[in-house]
């Protein structure tokens, strides 16, 4: 089984269908200036009880991907293609009506900023109860009791009282807990968490992540965790998908990707992240430059304008030829899209480590 849960190249056909199987997902927005390719051929799989971390900076397409999983692009100008199979059911072509039955019940989502994601004019309890009543024929009272129960489960003190409060009366961490309660109220099989901890301070962050992990164990859900913070991913995820300019650039298990990152962009992400265990003197190097245009992406490797190592590739291939996502030799299930040869990557890593040590 473990083989099947691990990342597979899009082309490889698994023996049995995984719980979530995304293939060649594309989300394009036509505009006056051209087509914005927010997501451009993304594939991944996920099993129940497992967690996938999708990492990337702003505009990399990770959030658009998550919305596609919920089918929230339906009825808009967005053009979605490819396949999303959830428990064998294809979601891209699913009519809005059927998709609606899945939302909140089978697939649910924890949004990034709970203050803006919760409706300011309704009480927290009412919003949680509403989410429950959409999919369950219960009385208002029962739904309210369910809301109290959920608030209790996510660790909100005095839930009977707080259920009547408005979102603005909650603290940041409590709001996120309420958000989680709302997402979990129907026991979803797939939970998408979009930057669940970004707006929170560090101690609360840890609590929330623990909560998600606990709840996942309890409900056995599959979790897609979207973040730009590799630290969070390291903490909680089983697999990592690194996105850049709407495409996958590195995909593998947490262990592989963090231990042996293959793509210069992933290196950059790691370098821009402080490490508790790391050297205080170590410089944090943010990645220079800005994210690529999604309308006219740079030719070749989308990252090449910002890549400090493109000189290591001969013949200027980086600017001309888009690198394929291929398995890192010796791993078989760790994929990366970069023209650097494995040897060169190794060499660079050694040099950089040496430089940092100085």
């Amino acid at each position: 089984m473990s083989l099947l849960t691990s990342p597979q190249p899009a082309a490889a056909e698994p023996a049995a269908a995984p719980f979530l199987d995304v293939r060649d997902l594309r989300v394009h927005f036509p505009t006056e200036d051209g087509i914005v390719k927010s997501v451009d051929g993304v594939s991944f799989t996920l099993e129940k009880g497992r967690t996938l971390g999708i990492v990337g900076e702003s505009g990399s397409g990770k959030s658009v991907t998550s919305l596609a999983l919920l089918g929230l692009h339906k009825g808009t100008r967005a053009e979605v293609s490819g396949e999303i199979r959830l428990d064998g059911r294809e979601l891209v072509s699913l009519p809005e009506r059927d998709m609606r039955a899945l939302r909140g019940r089978t697939v649910s989502m924890i949004f990034q900023d709970p203050l803006s994601a919760l409706h300011p004019y309704f009480t927290v309890g009412a919003q949680i109860a509403e989410a429950y009543r959409v999919h369950h024929k219960v009385s208002k009272k029962e739904a309210r009791e369910r809301a109290v129960e959920m608030l209790k489960r996510v660790g909100i003190p005095q839930p009977e009282r707080r259920v009547r409060d408005y979102p603005h009366q909650f603290s940041g961490g409590m709001r996120q807990r309420a958000m989680i309660a709302m997402a979990l109220v129907c026991d979803p099989e797939l939970l998408i968490a979009d930057e669940p901890t970004t707006a929170l301070d560090v101690t609360v962050q840890a609590q929330i992540l623990d909560l998600i992990r606990d709840l996942q164990e309890e409900f056995g859900s599959a979790v897609v965790l979207i973040t730009h913070d590799l630290g969070v991913v390291a903490d909680i995820a089983d697999d990592i998908l690194v996105m850049y300019g709407g495409r996958r650039i590195e995909y593998g298990t947490v262990h592989d990707v963090l231990k042996e990152p293959q793509h210069p962009y992933t290196w950059g992400l790691l370098e821009s992240m402080p490490q508790i265990t790391g050297d205080v003197e170590r410089r944090l190097n943010p990645i220079a430059g800005s994210p690529p245009s999604l309308i006219n992406p740079p030719g070749g490797c989308a990252f090449h304008p910002r890549c400090t190592f493109k000189g290591w590739v001969s013949g200027g291939r980086c600017a001309v030829e888009r690198p394929e996502l291929v398995a890192v030799p010796g791993t078989g299930r760790h994929l990366a899209a970069c023209h650097l040869t494995p040897e060169t990557r190794q060499e660079i890593r050694v040099r950089t480590a040496a430089g940092a040590a100085q």
Binding site: V36, S38, S58, S63, V64, H73, A78, F111, D113, T198
Partner: protein
């Protein structure tokens, strides 16, 4: 009120602050290196409706400017009666169909006086446009200064100015202008010998309209200044001990031109409407001086007998105000990237 318009919930793909949204409208943040004015101009050029409105507005302005030339061609001035075109026995109603439309009187003649309607309309346009623009300029200027002063100074200056704005906005304005006009006109009549100077009268009208319009702009500017003064560049200027006036006019004002221009663009049609309403109620421009509102007021008394006389200026005024409103909307959409007509 805010007029920002955002896409439907479902097509906002991203949520991170500052992240370039895939929303097609905000492509400006992705494609860098264009000045806001350029971008605005680019948007206007693409907006066919706004362009059409612009062309119509220019056409109206041209007609107003060329009024003497146009009436020289037709041969009838705005206050030259054509006694033959009206029938004294029926109460000076125009002879002939459609309010006396003929080759000499393209739009017919005015009942009662026999003035050429075409000439009165082209000259009346001058008055409407002048009052509309002049009062908008005045109210915007006063509003900007008051708004800047209130927003930037804070403290008692802000309190006093804000209360004045409250009072102005609470006034039953139309009622008050109606009441105020005879007072001022009376003061003027004692100055001139017998007759009333029509330019002075227009000026009073402009002042009256501006007096009740500046508070809107002032409130808008004050709000903008309050948010701007917390921004870094103002702090920076302050730290560099820049003078108050420097900060006001060199730092804040340049950042206000978009909202000010928008409020100006929308004030012009609004003021033209107000002017027409006042003239309709008999306290604006006074016949025989040509003015659209006064024409409509006059026409309203004959509309059962001579509907053409009401419809021609009525429809033209609608066209003018509509064009100016469309233009104002277009300018707003172009200057405020978040606002889109859809």
């Amino acid at each position: 009120m805010t007029t920002q318009q955002q896409p439907m919930p479902a097509d906002t793909g991203t949520t991170q602050a500052g992240q370039p949204s895939p929303d097609p409208r905000s492509d400006g943040t992705v494609i860098t290196g264009r000045s806001p004015a350029r971008m605005a101009w680019r948007r206007i050029r693409r907006d066919k409706v706004t362009l059409a409105a612009f062309v119509i507005t220019v056409l109206f302005v041209l007609i107003a400017l060329l009024a003497p030339v146009l009436t020289a061609i037709t041969g009838w001035g705005p206050i030259t009666p054509d006694g033959k075109a009206i029938d004294p026995d029926t109460g000076n109603f125009p002879r002939g169909a459609l309010g006396g439309v003929s080759l000499t009187h393209l739009l017919g003649v005015e009942p009662g006086t026999g003035f050429d309607l075409f000439a009165r309309i082209v000259y009346g346009l001058r008055t409407s446009l002048f009052v509309g623009f002049a009062s908008a300029v005045l109210s915007t200027a006063v509003g900007v200064v008051a708004g800047l002063a209130a927003g930037y100074s804070g403290g008692w200056v802000d309190s006093v100015l804000s209360r004045i704005m409250d009072v102005m906005l609470a006034f039953p304005q139309l009622l008050f202008i109606i009441a105020l006009t005879p007072v001022i006109q009376n003061a003027m009549q004692t100055n001139s010998h017998g007759g009333t100077d029509e330019n002075l009268r227009l000026l009073v009208l402009v002042l009256n309209i501006a007096v009740f319009a500046w508070a809107y702009t002032a409130r808008l500017v004050r709000g903008q200044v309050l948010s701007l003064r917390e921004r870094e560049f103002v702090d920076a200027a302050r730290i560099m001990s820049a003078g108050k006036w420097h900060i006001l006019f060199r730092q804040l004002l340049p950042n206000l031109w978009a909202p000010v221009l928008i409020s100006f663009a929308l004030a012009v049609p609004q003021n033209i409407t107000t002017e027409a309403a006042l003239s309709y109620l008999g306290v604006g421009v006074i016949p025989p001086n040509p003015d659209w509102g006064a024409l409509l007021s006059d026409a309203s008394q004959f509309f059962l007998q001579d509907p053409m006389y009401l419809f021609v200026p009525g429809v033209l005024l609608l066209m003018l105000v509509l064009a100016l409103n469309l233009l104002g909307d277009g300018v707003r959409d172009a200057l405020d990237p978040r606002a889109a007509r859809g």
